[in-house]
């Protein structure tokens, strides 16, 4: 019952948020809903930890049924969604804040609901609905900032996401035609390497890759993130991009094993490597803060793809390590990227301009913001003791175990590249330019929410076992 609550509660909150903002009860209601969401997610997380996966089935006739499964990975990402969602909503101010239009709250809650649906969904129909609605909600949120560039970016993103889900639909149809079932666990048993499965799987992968901004198809992401509202780009970069990758992982685990001897794993890993190199090099060349962070998202998605071939290793322990590494990387990147985007927003409001060269002297007047940037940066770089490092350690030891030294080297070298552009920001902040003491400080609540997110990455780095214990036996 609690599993459906994860989706129902945000939906209810979305409806309630339609109330006019001036209503005196509006703020307490929002806080109450947020607290409820946190409590529910934690309770479910502990329950899954204690009793294992919770499964809900709705029969759809003729042997097929609608499945929602709350396993370790789903709960971890639900936790991530809850944390980032809470931080973003708190960050955008529960009371009156001019920057954010009223439509943001209902859309945000809707986004959280759909995200939880995607995490929990284990059959093609649910996943199709989740991924599709997610795209539409994201497009709608992108237009909130009202700038023409945002509109153009939103349109471009709309066409991309529609095309992607079209391919996904055809893929699902092909698979259903072949095996007569939509549920992933059932497919896992019967899947075999034949033409129909191959094309269906390829179409689905391509569609999801387009929605997840994987390397060659990442064109729409930078413009979308740079021009959207700050909370929107936080939610999008931290969660929405990951949803598509998560669905890719779900499909990969069910359909990829028969194809493990083909060149697919190699292609996925090389796409990941290219994404890391491409994203980092371009992030280094950016002069505007938000664009730099956007390009960093493209780069970091590359890490997730690197783990895909490792999931097909023959030794179950190595597969589990890769699985844990992948989920932990999603968790670490989600938190760190959200914190980084918030900090970018604060720096822009503080210095009044989006350009990186204007950051001179901020380290003296915005110490907490710089500390958050540092902590988030450490996790993105994969430096100990952050969660990013723990993820990199898990994935690298899995790669080493299965003899894939190249991917291990890419993982480690990738950390250096991300260090390059993170420290480019810090270097500008440390520069002592002409005396400039008038910095428009963002409200304390916003700074604290960003700091808490980056602190989480540090805490998750120091104690990884609570989260990893849920992911035991994931990909086996």
């Amino acid at each position: 019952m609690m599993v459906t609550g994860l989706i129902a509660l945000p939906l209810l909150a979305a409806l309630l948020s339609l109330l006019p903002r001036q209503h005196p009860l509006w703020a307490p209601m929002q806080t109450l809903l947020l607290v409820a969401l946190n409590l529910l997610t934690l309770a479910l997380w502990r329950q899954v930890g204690a009793q294992g996966d919770a499964l809900i089935e709705l029969p759809l006739g003729a042997g097929t049924h609608w499945l929602l499964q709350a396993d370790g990975a789903a709960m971890t990402l639900a936790l991530l969604t809850c944390w980032v969602g809470t931080a973003t909503l708190v960050h955008s101010g529960l009371r009156r804040s001019p920057g954010v239009p009223d439509a943001f709250w209902p859309l945000a809650w809707l986004l959280l609901a759909v995200l939880n649906l995607v995490w929990l969904g284990t059959d093609l129909l649910t996943l199709y609905i989740g991924v599709e609605v997610l795209g539409l909600v994201a497009v709608a949120m992108m237009t909130l900032s009202g700038k023409p560039e945002a509109l153009a970016a939103a349109l471009r993103y709309l066409f991309a996401t529609l095309l992607g889900s079209m391919a996904y639909l055809v893929g699902a149809g092909l698979l259903f035609a072949e095996y007569g079932t939509l549920s992933l666990p059932a497919l896992a048993e019967v899947a075999s390497a034949n033409a129909a499965t191959g094309t269906g799987f390829a179409l689905m992968l391509a569609g999801l890759a387009l929605k997840a901004a994987v390397f060659p198809l990442h064109g729409w992401l930078p413009a979308a993130h740079a021009n959207a509202l700050l909370p929107v780009s936080v939610l999008h970069s931290a969660l929405v991009v990951k949803a598509s990758v998560f669905v890719m992982m779900r499909h990969w685990l069910t359909l990829a094993p028969p194809f493990s001897d083909s060149a697919l794993p190699l292609v996925m890993a090389s796409l990941g490597t290219l994404a890391i190199l491409w994203g980092s090099v371009l992030a280094l060349r950016q002069t505007r803060l938000k664009l730099l962070v956007a390009w960093s998202t493209v780069a970091q998605t590359g890490y997730l793809l690197l783990a895909f071939p490792l999931l097909l290793a023959d030794d179950p322990l190595l597969r589990q390590l890769a699985y844990q590494g992948l989920i932990y990387q999603m968790l670490a990147h989600g938190l760190a990227k959200a914190a980084l985007f918030m900090v970018a927003g604060h720096l822009i409001t503080a210095t009044g301009s989006d350009r990186i060269s204007q950051l001179t002297g901020t380290s003296r007047h915005l110490p907490l913001t710089l500390l958050t940037l540092g902590l988030a940066g450490i996790s993105l770089m994969g430096m100990p003791p952050s969660a990013g490092f723990a993820a990199k350690w898990l994935m690298a030891s899995s790669a080493l175990g299965s003899g894939a030294i190249v991917w291990m080297v890419v993982l480690i070298a990738g950390g250096l590249l991300s260090a390059a552009y993170i420290l480019k920001l810090l270097r500008e902040a440390f520069r002592e330019g002409p005396e400039r003491d008038v910095f428009e400080h963002p409200p304390r609540l916003q700074k604290m929410s960003a700091f808490l997110l980056s602190l989480l990455t540090l805490l998750l780095g120091l104690s990884t076992l609570p989260v990893l214990s849920l992911l035991i036996g994931g990909a086996v």
Partner: protein
């Protein structure tokens, strides 16, 4: 050639037409229409593929597909009109240059 094959070919043809329109149309409305055509083609393809007496699943799949296409078109039209009002163009400008580091 069985009935499913006919539907298959029709669906495939529709998708091809839609895709080419999607590629070459510059006008946003045309692209949206092209998308609708490909959508219906794909739905047709899915129905044809799944054949009959396969239970509720394919129907549900197609139903959601249609709903989603409807929602998407509505959103697209709304944005399209907003874009037309704001920028006066009916087609999308080339993507902004990723600006060079001075």
């Amino acid at each position: 050639m069985s009935v499913t094959d006919v539907w298959m070919i029709a669906g495939g043809g529709l998708m091809l037409i839609g895709l080419t329109g999607f590629l070459f149309a510059r006008h946003l409305l045309r692209r949206l229409l092209a998308f609708n055509i490909t959508g219906s083609g794909a739905l047709l393809m899915v129905l044809a593929l799944s054949g009959n007496d396969r239970g509720l699943a394919p129907a549900l799949l197609v139903l959601t597909g249609m709903l989603v296409a409807l929602g998407a078109t509505a959103l697209g039209l709304f944005l399209l009109r907003l874009w037309q009002q704001q920028s006066g163009h009916t087609d999308l400008p080339p993507p902004p240059d990723p600006d060079l580091d001075p």
